[in-house]
């Protein structure tokens, strides 16, 4: 808090105005201290805001997950691992976790696979830029808007059923977003539509960074395009694929908008994913501590994925170099 008050004081700004940055060699102790405080002034808004609005809540959330915080009373008795054992014993948590894994896997494999195909095959085609722009277009729309649009695409009297009717000639009445066996696939398709453009662009970035020489050389030696792709392009593209995949996984576990908006009429909406389940337990049922534990599980998953990415990144870089 002292930093905040200093940020506005006349004296310190005067110091900043007067102070010239000396060459580092000849820095004396007083000047070094001044440098430190000037730096603190520059850092203060960012550090204060992120500490109090982002980091403190995370710590509070972790603490909360070990308490017995009840709705209304807010009694914060320490409860040890009770919330976590409840998690493991609750079939809904199992359902939500299973769905989350299915969702994350599908929302990773399909966009990356299709994105790679687009990135590789659109190159050099006529209308290349137009095609790329069209594929990227959904990414520009707000996710909530996308959810609403596709909610009506999948509606019983919606676009998809009408389209199938027009093609098949028979009446179709599938509630895509109301049935256990279709809802997840339907939302994944929407997610694919929304995100494949971004994945494609990121992979194109990776492709553009690949040196031409080894490819030229391989072609001279008579390698087929497929051999070139598998033996040269793919290994060089690996680091990019890795980053894109890890980002997809993290985004997948946190995904909320589409699942929430499109799951509106589905009785199992709450267990569509861990992120939705956490929102339900906390903000609908008032099981705050339990919901905090779900959030911690999500946080732990994210940390593991981030760590794994860093580790694999080092290995992939080693492989490349």
């Amino acid at each position: 808090m002292t930093l905040q008050t200093t940020a506005l004081s006349e004296d310190d700004t005067a110091i900043i105005a007067r102070l010239k940055r000396p060459s580092f060699a000849g820095i004396d102790r007083v000047q070094r201290r001044r440098q430190f405080w000037i730096a603190m002034l520059f850092l203060a808004p960012a550090v204060i805001l992120t500490t109090f609005v982002l980091l403190a809540p995370i710590l509070f959330n972790v603490w909360l997950s070990f308490t017995k915080w009840k709705k209304f009373t807010g009694l914060d008795q320490f409860a040890g691992l009770a919330n976590y054992t409840n998690l493991l014993n609750n079939p809904q948590f199992g359902e939500a976790s299973t769905n989350a894994v299915i969702w994350v896997t599908a929302s990773l494999v399909l966009p990356v696979g299709l994105g790679l195909i687009f990135a590789l095959s659109l190159r050099g085609l006529p209308f290349e830029n137009t095609l790329k722009t069209i594929i990227f277009l959904p990414r520009v729309i707000a996710p909530t808007s996308i959810g609403v649009i596709w909610f009506y695409v999948y509606a019983p009297k919606g676009l998809l059923n009408a389209g199938i009717e027009a093609v098949s000639g028979a009446p179709v009445d599938i509630g895509w977003l109301y049935q256990d066996n279709t809802i997840m696939a339907s939302i994944v398709v929407t997610y694919l539509w929304q995100n494949v453009g971004l994945v494609m662009v990121l992979l194109l970035l990776g492709l553009a960074a690949i040196p031409k020489d080894p490819i030229e050389a391989a072609r001279m030696d008579g390698a087929t395009p497929w051999q070139v792709f598998v033996h040269i392009v793919l290994p060089l593209l690996l680091p990019t694929l890795l980053v894109v995949s890890m980002l997809s996984i993290i985004a997948g576990f946190g995904a909320f908008d589409l699942l929430w908006v499109m799951g509106l009429g589905y009785p199992g909406r709450r267990t569509l994913s861990l992120s939705v389940y956490m929102y339900f337990e906390g903000f609908s049922k008032g099981s705050w501590a339990y919901a905090a534990a779900i959030a911690v599980v999500l946080g732990a998953i994210t940390l593991v994925v981030t760590w794994a990415q860093a580790w694999l990144q080092v290995r992939a870089d080693g492989l490349k170099g």
Binding site: L8, T13, W69, K71, F72, T73, G74, Q92, A155, P156, G175, Y178, Q179, L264, G265, P267, G268, R269, R270, F280, G282, F283, S284, K285, G286, S287
Partner: protein
């Protein structure tokens, strides 16, 4: 730069402070019924409070729960009656007793003593009624006439026969949807009280298990009605429009829906009327589902005369009249005009038949189980086979048996 920055920070602080003080000045009624906002404000203009809506209900609940948890109970707010009112809300100790106010209201004859029952916990009264609603079968007389039906059904079998007639005339008998995710219990509770009110009430305290044969029978009847094509598409998310637009002849709903239905173009007496669903067996006593919405104040706010005045005014003839005229809702004040022709008709039925009033399923069951159970009912409506019913029954039985094993 410095001045710009400090001005920005100063401005932000000032803005935040003025926002807080603006709220502190007036008596605020916090609620989750955004569709009543203008009606509530009409009463507020007379009674000196300002309404403030939080939607959807989930966020409102979260807001109230966290406010109470952090010791800042809203001064005047709405809630739900039943288990959550008794076991959760009043149990916080933050809700002011209104025994004196009720004594006044009963003494001057504007309310019956019984109308305080839903808000009484351990002999003390903790709320005024925002509305006191009964659940009825709305029907469209024009569509009934089109199918050649005259008069309202007096027995369950007559109602089913009417449904057959309507179906034969190409009219969907009942509009029933899962809109907003909470409507799954409506038909379940209605069939239950028509079959066995005792078993129904037993669901609330664990004396009836959901594995009881009566529950199974209720699902069987419900499933049969679906099989005969009596119901509209449960996946619609515009129930009011469906019914008002002639998408079905009947709609089971609280009498609070009159306002919504007339807004959507229906006309009471011409295209809109209502009857109380008849019992399956003639031996069962007359009864119907009620829904009472409490209006409460915090212990802290009860010390503020402005808040007490607003509450007194709410229940007064003047307040109740404005409320009835704007919202079309009946709060229980006998001196207020009937908000529409349907409310007195249902009240008359209630008095003539000495009808028992049963709490809605939503308010009756433990609050922690509401959401999960109603989602299970909704899954039945989407797949109304007995196979699914057995799954739903097993699921709900599991939830409730586990709860009652822990809370006996």
């Amino acid at each position: 730069m410095k001045t710009l920055l400090s001005r920005a920070i100063f401005g932000a602080c000032l803005g935040a402070m003025s926002a807080i003080t603006a709220i502190a000045d007036e008596v605020i009624l916090t609620h989750d019924k955004a569709f009543y906002s203008t009606f509530l404000q009409a009463v507020g203009d007379v009674c000196g409070f300002k309404e403030q809506a939080y939607t959807p209900p989930e966020q409102f609940k979260a807001f109230v729960q966290s406010s109470i948890a952090s010791g800042q109970t809203p001064e005047m707010f709405t809630w739900w009656s039943g288990a959550t009112f008794r076991d959760e809300m009043v149990a916080t100790g933050q809700i002011a007793q209104l025994d004196d106010l009720w004594a006044e209201l009963i003494a001057n004859g504007s309310f019956t003593a019984a109308s305080a029952d839903p808000f009484t916990v351990d002999g003390h009264k903790y709320a005024l009624p925002l509305a006191f609603n009964k659940w009825v079968m709305f029907y469209n007389p024009t569509l009934f006439a089109k199918a050649g039906i005259t008069g309202e059904p007096k027995t369950w079998d007559e109602m089913m026969a009417d449904a057959d007639t309507l179906k034969a005339a190409g009219i969907t008998p009942f509009v029933a949807t899962n809109q907003d995710g909470w409507r799954g219990f409506i038909w379940f509770e209605e069939i239950m009280i028509r079959l066995s009110p005792e078993k129904y009430l037993g669901l609330f305290d664990g004396t009836t298990s959901y594995s009881d044969p009566v529950v199974h029978q209720a699902f069987q009847m419900w499933s049969d009605m679906y099989a005969k094509g009596y119901f509209s598409d449960p996946r619609s998310n515009q129930e009011v429009v469906d019914f008002a637009g002639g998408g079905g002849a009947m709609n089971l709903m609280g009498d609070w829906a009159v306002g919504l239905l007339t807004q959507a173009g229906m006309e009471v007496g011409k295209t809109l009327d209502a009857f109380v669903v008849p019992n399956v067996s003639a031996d069962t006593p007359a009864g119907m589902i009620y829904e009472a919405s409490p209006l409460m104040i915090s212990v802290e706010a009860a010390k503020n005369p402005a808040v007490m005045d607003a509450m007194r005014c709410w229940a007064s003839d003047e307040g109740a009249t404005v409320w009835a005229n704007t919202s079309g809702l009946f709060m229980g004040n006998l001196n207020a005009p009937a908000p529409n022709a349907i409310v007195p008709k249902i009240n008359k039925f209630s008095i003539d038949n000495n009808a028992a009033l049963y709490s809605r399923w939503w308010e009756g069951v433990p609050a922690d189980l509401q959401g999960d159970s109603v989602a299970a009912f909704a899954s039945f409506m989407l797949n109304p086979t007995m196979e699914q019913a057995d799954k739903v029954i097993a699921q709900v039985t599991g939830l409730h048996d586990a709860y009652w094993a822990e809370h006996k």
